[in-house]
Symmetry: C2
Subunit: 420 residues, 2 copies
Amino acid sequence: MLSDMTIDLSFDAAVERDSSDVLARHRAKFSLPEDVIYLDGNSLGVLPVAVGERISRAVDAEWGQGLIRSWNSAGWTDLPATIGAKIARLVGADPDCLIVADSTSINLFKVISAALSLRADRTKIVTEAANFPTDNYIAEGVIKQCGDRHQLVHVASPADIPAALDDDVAILMLTHVNFRDGRMHDMAALTEAAHDCGALVIWDLAHSAGAMPVDLAGCDVDFAVGCGYKYLNGGPGAPAFLYAAKRHLGGHRQPLTGWFAHKNPFAFTPQYEAATDINQFLCGTPPVLSLVALDCALDVWSDVDLAALRAKSEALTDYFIALVEGRCNGHGLTLVSPRDAKARGSQVSFSHPDAGYAIVSALIAEGVIGDFRAPDILRFGFTPLYVSFADVWNAVDRLAGILVDRRWDNPEFHTRKKVT
Amino acid sequence: MLSDMTIDLSFDAAVERDSSDVLARHRAKFSLPEDVIYLDGNSLGVLPVAVGERISRAVDAEWGQGLIRSWNSAGWTDLPATIGAKIARLVGADPDCLIVADSTSINLFKVISAALSLRADRTKIVTEAANFPTDNYIAEGVIKQCGDRHQLVHVASPADIPAALDDDVAILMLTHVNFRDGRMHDMAALTEAAHDCGALVIWDLAHSAGAMPVDLAGCDVDFAVGCGYKYLNGGPGAPAFLYAAKRHLGGHRQPLTGWFAHKNPFAFTPQYEAATDINQFLCGTPPVLSLVALDCALDVWSDVDLAALRAKSEALTDYFIALVEGRCNGHGLTLVSPRDAKARGSQVSFSHPDAGYAIVSALIAEGVIGDFRAPDILRFGFTPLYVSFADVWNAVDRLAGILVDRRWDNPEFHTRKKVT
């Protein structure tokens, strides 16, 4: 292991770093359990304080009293766009090019279909073998539905992507930050490489939106999707978002042609006529209560400096690596995330040859929540708005204790449960 | 107009009927605005009293305190199935054949795709021209995505359906109760007719589930979809449900192949391998807060006798027709719903040649909420769990006043707003 010897690993130093943290004031916007150090905001973001009251208002006043009238009077009809505009600022998008709808998987189905319709003469979709599996599953689903005329090309490593781009590639589909190891792609360079061969790009921002600044418009991205429940803190299974470049609006087709995607949903015309704006990517009636939670959750971002967010994210993850390598040496943990902070997202993953699941379970039992990803990954997310340097220090302190005393070596920590 | 002279139209008679209504006790389970008579539960059901507290618990305890652990400890992972089982009882389904997911439109996309894969040698989908437009839009979307090899046949009237069924029909897709006029199809007979020609059936139960007993298994239905926010009172845009007959589970394919539809979602295998049970019809991560509201809302049904529900529904709608025809005669209203209660759902629609929208707007302004459906339909839904005979009497009393005094003839009632 290589430790960064320039980082002071004392607890006092952690406290000192927290005292000069310009983002520290945002922690008060979140409702954090007292007995937990939460390093899993990349799975499910924590509850913003304001959401409880906002949801109660949506239930009691808007639904209970306003009833059907609230589609207009409470702005329910506009939620996909109004929430979209809040996310647009975080990912460098024109607000007219981003909407909130359905799940990430379903939105991916829409944009893959749309992109294929724009590159009808090409037959390849290039993805990474290490992409989040559901993204590749959805591409398989589109391909089967379209008559098995396309090929899903699984590239083995990021370095192999440019060589896979040829003039038969319709789509380069990548997740910006890898869910397993946190490796981050160069969005600008890969988008340009795809465009150079005439392909379109689709970026999945599940682990990027709210974790770092993203510049969709500046990178000339064609399509993007992302989820609302990780760094955006929108609540469990919060609706997802979808971005389409202005040049593609109206020019493609997507097959989930529900009434909300119609040019005039309430005319009830017998034939489908697609909206020519971003609404074409909506489908059916959206789940309003979940939308309202996401809408409210996004208000925490109104005064967040995204450059400061990224700086703290890099500092937290560097610090975590230095602490683990400094204090847990000799216990089988190997860093699998990039050592260079510029090359990774806001998470750090270590592998362990045989006890990864048990170590994560022991950590959770002792109040440090990270997660395990098969086959051997311990994954820790660092959300700069509410994770402190002292949290990181305390988490590693507990991890070191669990490893030294082998507290993970307990039958109760070996029973697998489902988590997302 | 024909009035039913056997119905006593006095207010005292309404009060008398309420006093002997075996379902009257259920009204206390709902939070009804005091100043409103709500005849729009077929658009958005009212708030069950228990939901507010249940949602607050999901937000504060499950999300806020439990965080990612609640996927297991609070049963979030199982919600699609546990809610599905509650709906299954209402629609005559084996609980293993029904799940809750996504929207009605998206679920329809899944089952149309699945049914086409099971009838790969056939090219027609038969629907009604008068079907809810989004259902036909979705069928168009599937057809385009599958290479325009299929034909969507729009049958003009219910009587023409049997003649449209030939050995090239893959799917007969119908909405059980028509959204505009409330006409109800004979599910058993049409399903049998479709099967006789080798076709599969898809029923949309949007206006049936919670409005009357439905017998999916008894009618040998292949697939069904329906929504959670009308008679099931699950809240605005509540997630939808999907039914597939046991014989079709595992034997088909549906293209929205998200990780929740995988045989082993958390193994993160590189290739998609479909679940062989009803979970194959899931897709991405579901919106938990909206699911929780629906789950709680369905508990009101635990002690509801569906035969009594249907009897009251028929009585309420018969009563409304008699009152309108008895008290609003000569003001241009024409019944467009079937006069025979056995042939209609739990709604009554009248047309008006030119002032339909304005009359509905005037009614809403005076606290009677129904809705307008283009081009000329005044639509009123009667939800037997919380609408009383006195409500019906008072609603028609106000309607009669609006018509007699032409209170609808006011510019403010002519500006169209969007509603769902």
